[in-house]
Each structure stands twice: as C-alpha cells, then as structure tokens.
C-alpha cells in the first residue's frame, strides 16, 4: 500500500517537472529527438464557440483612466465655453456702453454738438472699441470650448459604452476547490 503511494508520488513529481508546451512549440530534447519533433504536426488554436479569441475590453485600469481623462476634458471644455460666454456677455455690455445711441444722447445733452476733449465722449469711444475685441475673443473661446466639450463628451460616451460591453473574469479559491467567475456586461 505504502509502495503504491510512493510510486504515485514519484509519478506526480515527474509530471510536475515536465515542461508545459503550447501548441506549435517544440521542446529541445537532449537525446537527439529534434528531427522527430520537427516532423511532428503543428496544431492550430481552436477557439471554443467559433470566436476569434481576441481581447475583451482590455485593461480595466487603463479604460478607467481613459474615461477619467475624457471626463476631465469635458469639464475643461465646458468651463472654457462658460468663460467664453461670460466674456462675450461682457463684450455685449461694453458694446451697449459704447453704442452710437449713447453718443447721440451726449450730443443732445450738449446742444447737439459733441463736447471736445470730453472724458465721457472718450469713454464711449473706448468702450465701443474694446467691445469689439472682448466680444470677438469671447465668442472665439466659446466656440473652442463648445467644440472641445462636444468631442470629449462623445469620446466619454463611447468609452463608457465600451466598458459596459466588456467581459470580466475572476478566479477565487473556495473551500472545496476554486470558482471561476465570468461576467459579461452590455
């Protein structure tokens, strides 16, 4: 009985030291079996269920990082758009403060003649000039922000969709052996 046990143990030990070869790999035999090994047929991988056996979902950490980055870009783009909008509104206010109507009002208040070297007149002119620059830059920033937000948002949606449809594998030891957990989300 004990002899049988020791034989079984030896056989198991021998099996443990045997190199685990993948199909297509040829082990170098010290005893000149290289020729035989070369003639041996090379087996192709056959995926179960006829699938392609490709990667499913990739590294979840990398995916989460990408999603976080896309989210941050969306927020940055939206902030830029808001800043541009506020600047454009400020430009609009400046435009009102430097409008021809205000110049006409000043003219009316001064017996229908614009006062010469007058700070109020010069302020209206300065406001009108500044309004053009502020409004143009505000609108430009707003457009850039909107484009960045739209692109980042679409990327974020796509990445979230990818994560949702990815598969998750997990192996866990249990009392009676091991459990394989396979989850497909879509």
């Amino acid at each position: 009985m004990s002899r049988q046990r020791s034989r079984a143990r030896r056989a198991l030990a021998a099996a443990a030291v045997l190199p685990l070869l993948l199909p297509g790999e040829v082990a170098a035999q010290p005893g000149g079996d290289a020729e035989l090994a070369a003639e041996a047929p090379v087996l192709e991988w056959t995926h179960e269920g006829g699938g392609t056996g490709g990667r499913t979902g990739g590294d979840p950490h990398a995916m989460n990082k990408k999603i976080r980055r896309a989210g941050a870009t969306t927020i940055a783009g939206a902030s830029l758009a808001i800043a541009g909008g506020v600047t454009a509104i400020a430009g609009g206010v400046l435009g009102y403060l430097g409008s021809p109507g205000r110049l006409k009002q000043l003219k009316q208040d001064n017996d229908y003649v614009l006062p010469v070297d007058d700070p109020k007149r010069q302020q209206i002119i300065a406001n009108a000039r500044m309004a053009t620059f502020v409004l143009a830059s505000g609108v430009s920033v707003l457009v850039v922000g909107v484009i960045i937000t739209a692109v980042a948002r679409s990327r974020l949606k796509k990445l979230r969709e990818q994560r949702r449809t990815s598969m998750a594998f997990g192996a866990a030891p249990t009392r009676g052996g091991a459990a394989l957990h396979w989850e497909v989300r879509f």
Binding site: A88, G91, G92, G95, G98, S99, P100, L103, K104, D111, Y112, V113, L114, V116, D117, D118, R121, Q122, I125, A126, A128, R129, A131, T132, L135, A136, V139, L142, V143, V146
Partner: protein, 117 residues
C-alpha cells in the same frame, strides 16, 4: 444651429457698432485724437489751434477738409472748396473764411479784407 446663428449675429452687431460709431463721429468737432474713432484723426490746422477753434474728425491721412477749414487748401472756382462753408456743424461759432486766390488757402475773411484796399 441656434448657437451658430447667435455667434453670427454677435459678430455682425459688433462690426456694425464699430462702423456706425465711425460714421457718427465723422465730421464732428475734436481737439485730440481720442475724440475720434481709431480709423480717424483729428484734422486741426495750426490756424485753428491759434484761434482755439476745434478741428474735425476725418479719415486718417486726410489732414484737413479742403476748402472747409481755416489754413486748409482751397480752390475759389470749386463750389465745394471755396471756403464759404465750414466743415464743423453750424452750431459751432466758426469765423467767416475766404479763399486766398494767391496762396490758395482758406483765410479769415476779416484778414483778407484788411489786406485788400
């Protein structure tokens, strides 16, 4: 679509506001460059400065309005440049001018009459 229309309207309004203000200031009295639009200059001759008279906002490079400003070039045979009408609004008390036929420059009417017998 609505956003694009808003941006387009804002840009057009800004451009129109600038143009409109330039038109509004054209021909208006001035003393310094800041009294005019950035595409204009304050056309004020040395004679006007001597008499403490205001200049006129004109397009850059014009200098002064020919035949309409004291000390500016004139043509006695040209109705528009014979110095009988000032470039400034009528509300401003501008002295009467005449075109000096020899110098071809707008001068004060009183000076011209004083020189001639």
């Amino acid at each position: 679509m609505r956003r694009t229309r808003f941006i387009h309207t804002a840009l057009v309004s800004a451009a129109l506001a600038g143009c409109s203000l330039a038109d509004e200031l054209d021909g208006e009295p001035c003393a310094v460059e800041e009294d005019c639009w950035h595409t204009q200059e304050c056309g004020r001759t040395a004679e006007e400065e001597q008499l403490a008279l205001p200049g006129v906002c004109v397009s850059k490079g014009t200098g002064c309005v020919p035949g309409r400003q004291l000390g500016c070039a004139c043509d006695p045979l040209d109705y528009d440049r014979d110095c009988l009408m000032a470039a400034l609004p009528v509300a401003i008390d501008y002295p009467a001018m005449i075109c000096d036929e020899v110098r071809r420059v707008c001068v004060l009417e009183s000076d011209e009459s004083g020189v001639q017998p």
